[in-house]
Symmetry: C2
Subunit: 384 residues, 2 copies
Amino acid sequence: MTFVDPLPQTVQFHLDKHCQNTHARAGTLKTLHGMVETPIFMPVGTAGTVKSLCPRDLVDLKVQLLLGNTYHLYLRPGCDIIRIFGGLHEFMQWHGPILTDSGGFQVFSLAKLRDVSDDGVLFQSHIDGSRHMLTPQSVVDIQDCLGSDILMCLDDVVPYPCDHTRIQDALTRTHKWAQECKDAWLKKKTHSALFGIVQGGMIKDLRRQSIDALNEIDFPGYAIGGLSVGEPQSLMYEIGAYCLDLLPQSKPRYIMGVGTPADLVHLVAAGCDMFDCVMPTRNARNGQLFTSRGTINIKNAAYKEDTGPVDPECNCYTCRQFSRAYLNHLYRSRELLAYRLNTIHNIHFYIQLMKCMREAILEDRFELFSKSVLSVYARTSVAS
Amino acid sequence: MTFVDPLPQTVQFHLDKHCQNTHARAGTLKTLHGMVETPIFMPVGTAGTVKSLCPRDLVDLKVQLLLGNTYHLYLRPGCDIIRIFGGLHEFMQWHGPILTDSGGFQVFSLAKLRDVSDDGVLFQSHIDGSRHMLTPQSVVDIQDCLGSDILMCLDDVVPYPCDHTRIQDALTRTHKWAQECKDAWLKKKTHSALFGIVQGGMIKDLRRQSIDALNEIDFPGYAIGGLSVGEPQSLMYEIGAYCLDLLPQSKPRYIMGVGTPADLVHLVAAGCDMFDCVMPTRNARNGQLFTSRGTINIKNAAYKEDTGPVDPECNCYTCRQFSRAYLNHLYRSRELLAYRLNTIHNIHFYIQLMKCMREAILEDRFELFSKSVLSVYARTSVAS
């Protein structure tokens, strides 16, 4: 069933500029909780906090859009508690825009048991083993309860590699669920947006089918799922670019779970607007820091006596105040402050990278800028 | 050997006011890195950080004096590294006053092997098993390298309970070391102060001997060690008050490693000026929070849906911004932010308690104020 109502005009996307030499674009996404300038990177705030940071840190870091994980928040603290606060914004005291995933990917990657039917996904909590079911209706209900500005559809996630029949099968289900999510969302009449998720594995024909099916349903924005799941980088870029090319120009496009600095540059060049990834935060907690000269691991003995900042080009709190030697000491001493200072630095790096890409697009020098990043990061080994 | 030089007048103590009904006093300690208003509580920054906090958090919390642990800093990162930075202030970017202990107590409580002779203490690092020796000369050298504003003498720490002979033996050694520390410190001609440490177990006669011996050597300030080591609370108060009574009025007095809010009130009333304790920081990391109505454990299921702040009377960042339900969620999710927000709250509580005691002394209402705190905390169970 397709609703004939027009899409609610609450989250609006405006294209500010196209790059003349690539598919890169700069845009503005208007949400109830504020403006988001694209291309944008969303730090991952899994369980109602970006690990080790306060909301005021995120404001200081000029984070514009935060990702929350529905799977985690649904299991703990649960909707009953978040509903008391009127949503995640008030619960965690982050007053900027929030995008939540549907939980489908975490059920696939974290839950103990996973039983997919056309109705939804039955799973067992990784926390206490309790059984739960996510359905297209329930993921919209949960994300609506969280008060997300951008909701994601439930999708059927397949492993990589995966055979054609299984992918096709999952795709049919993903499209059925997409329609059901849209129906559930429209009934909410909220100020949020709902994004459809393109699937289809590494098979271009299936990706095209997926985009056609989602276009038919019509969403305020589109995500590309099923990338960065173990495939070669070149294949990820190829499939990503293929999908981006087919998606409607006027809608925001989001590639989920990606990626390294090089990935972001490649995929912005291919026309992507939005990204999320645990890389800057998780790697920070493992001591890997992103710098204008490549990555460094602060645990390295070479930094024990190094009085310089992590990155002389960086203006973050960590680099303005502290030396590599101090950060090395904190990390080796397993001090909680190590995780915090490293996370501040890495998020700052990612946010600045996106800001610089946007400025470069607006000033017609994106190609030059992207080359300068890739000259460092195309060959940089990034832990994952 | 007693030096005839006058004490360097770099750290100065001024008594601002005596309480009329108790022995409580308000004073001001002037150091090269700033003024310290007493009575004062020093948060413990063991390894160059108050666990989970940045130096700017300490400034926000109005911390006036920070404690650093010589044992930890000597072992890691070591003096060679801290010397490159010209001291701990620059290394950790805390620009207020620092007091460091001598390491003696940590050798006693943490090190694997401990062999005490009249020369010093031989011990094995709890980190890598390496062997080291702390002597009166070396603890002054290390603390001087750290750039401490207030240094502590090396003392011979005995367990509790302990027999008279062993205490007497340790006391003789403690006094010998105190003289050697004083000699070493005078030769430094620094802007720091050196405090002697009164020992003598729970035996008043030995405590009196100790105070006489240290007075003879003459220090800019005096600490009382060997309390809060397992003895009954009433005995701690009795021995503490006994020592405080005998110490010179004009010098600052510091009881080491104490204590609960009730302990602080009792011992300020007995004339103590300075305290340090891991209690607010360690208990924060275990979920125990101090409030104007007693302690709560934020892990408790009763707080799962509680939208109120930890303490309605509290003005700290944690209480201004977050609910008990959110803190309960963070703690149950083992989120790093839990440790940070809890620590901010508990340090704020301790700092405010001391500030209120000082104001009450200055305004001739200390007795009334202390009763109001004790009406809550004298019977409150505090985890340790």
